[in-house]
Symmetry: C2
DNA sequence: CAAACACCATACGCACGCGTATTGACAAGC
DNA sequence: GCTTGTCAATACGCGTGCGTATGGTGTTTG
């Protein structure tokens, strides 16, 4: 073993821990983030964890912060990419399609822990962002300020509620034809005609 | 039953425990239902609890079952009381006003624990019930079967999502004038004109 | 080459929550 | 009056999960 290929060693960075935490959140919710189980999952013991982080709370905070920034960029890209506000709105709905996408699954998990003290501020920020994003699009479609704000809230609420129905498997699978019909109905109902 | 005033002894029945559990769920969520803390809250030790229930799970199951029946009656009363489907729909939205009402607060709490194995079937039943209630009303307003079902799902989703926004205090207080304006907007958007 | 540093393993103390076991108090029925 | 049944208090064992302490190994750096 003269030249140990560094494949094996693979020291973990704080970012690795954060990614692992986010995966756990996506799969099993915030409460499932336990130091020891996470460490096991990373193939390491918790002795290491407490070198990178002072405690569990710091891990969650930093992970959520990282996710928040990541989500920010995602939204920005979406906004820049598409000119037509109507198309942007439709794409917003379609985003619920992206199940088993880390960023999106984390969001779903967070939605179901709105009282968690660490989640609350994050969720608030995201709701603000998405709501104003929606309101903006509605205004561009010619709605008055107040109406646009209301419609945005309604749309956001419908989106979040749909996430829950999907969680209970009481909503059609995103790929199914029924989903497309439903989506069409939603679009017709919530997006004003051009 | 000749004379003994039963004021002092106050033995607890299983129903008392269930009520206590539901209060806890309403205030702090399903996970907050711990045997010992609940016992303390009832002014008693857990030694008694395990006489009435085999374990914690049974308590939660029976409490939820009791709540489910209670909610069933509530809905039934609502349906019987009001003839006009449009009025019924409006009342459905207004029910989100009933914060700090035990039955409703429990529902909110359950909505935020959809993955909990004991909550899942309950939530499913309620979602079914309310969705078909809504679909029925929409059909009575002249919508086709499929459209009514879609609109019902959308409406239910919007309702659940709004609960979350309220939880985050990002939605107007039910008594405020802004709430009335928003409600009006929702009605105009989701309920087809007569 | 020795000391310092970065990263990880092992082992412990502690709190909390579930469930059980044992005992006690108090009423009703034989 | 003594047994039986009902409800409650106390005390334990057990698992889990957090955080700490301490020691070890490899890599850097003076």
């Amino acid at each position: 073993m003269a030249k140990p290929q560094k494949i094996e060693k693979e020291k973990l960075t704080a970012a690795d821990w954060e990614r692992g935490a986010l995966e756990l959140i996506a799969e099993q919710g915030v409460n499932a983030v336990a130091v020891e189980s996470l460490a096991r999952r990373m193939g390491i013991t918790k002795g290491s964890f407490y070198w990178h982080f002072p405690n569990r709370q710091a891990l969650i905070e930093q992970s959520l912060q990282r996710w928040l920034e990541h989500d920010e960029r995602n939204l920005q890209i979406l906004m820049d990419a598409i000119e037509d506000p109507r198309e942007r709105l439709i794409l917003f709905f379609r985003r619920s399609t992206q199940v088993h996408q880390l960023t999106h699954d984390v969001y779903t998990a967070l939605c179901f822990a709105p009282d968690h003290p660490l989640v609350q501020p994050v969720l608030e920020a995201v709701a603000d962002r998405r709501t104003s994003y929606l309101a903006n699009a509605f205004r561009q479609l010619g709605m008055a300020d107040e109406a646009a704000a209301f419609r945005a809230r309604l749309t956001y609420a419908a989106y979040v509620g749909y996430l829950q129905l999907m969680q209970q498997e009481q909503a059609p699978e995103p790929e199914s034809p029924e989903f497309e019909s439903y989506l069409e109905h939603v679009i017709k109902t919530l997006i004003p005609a051009v």
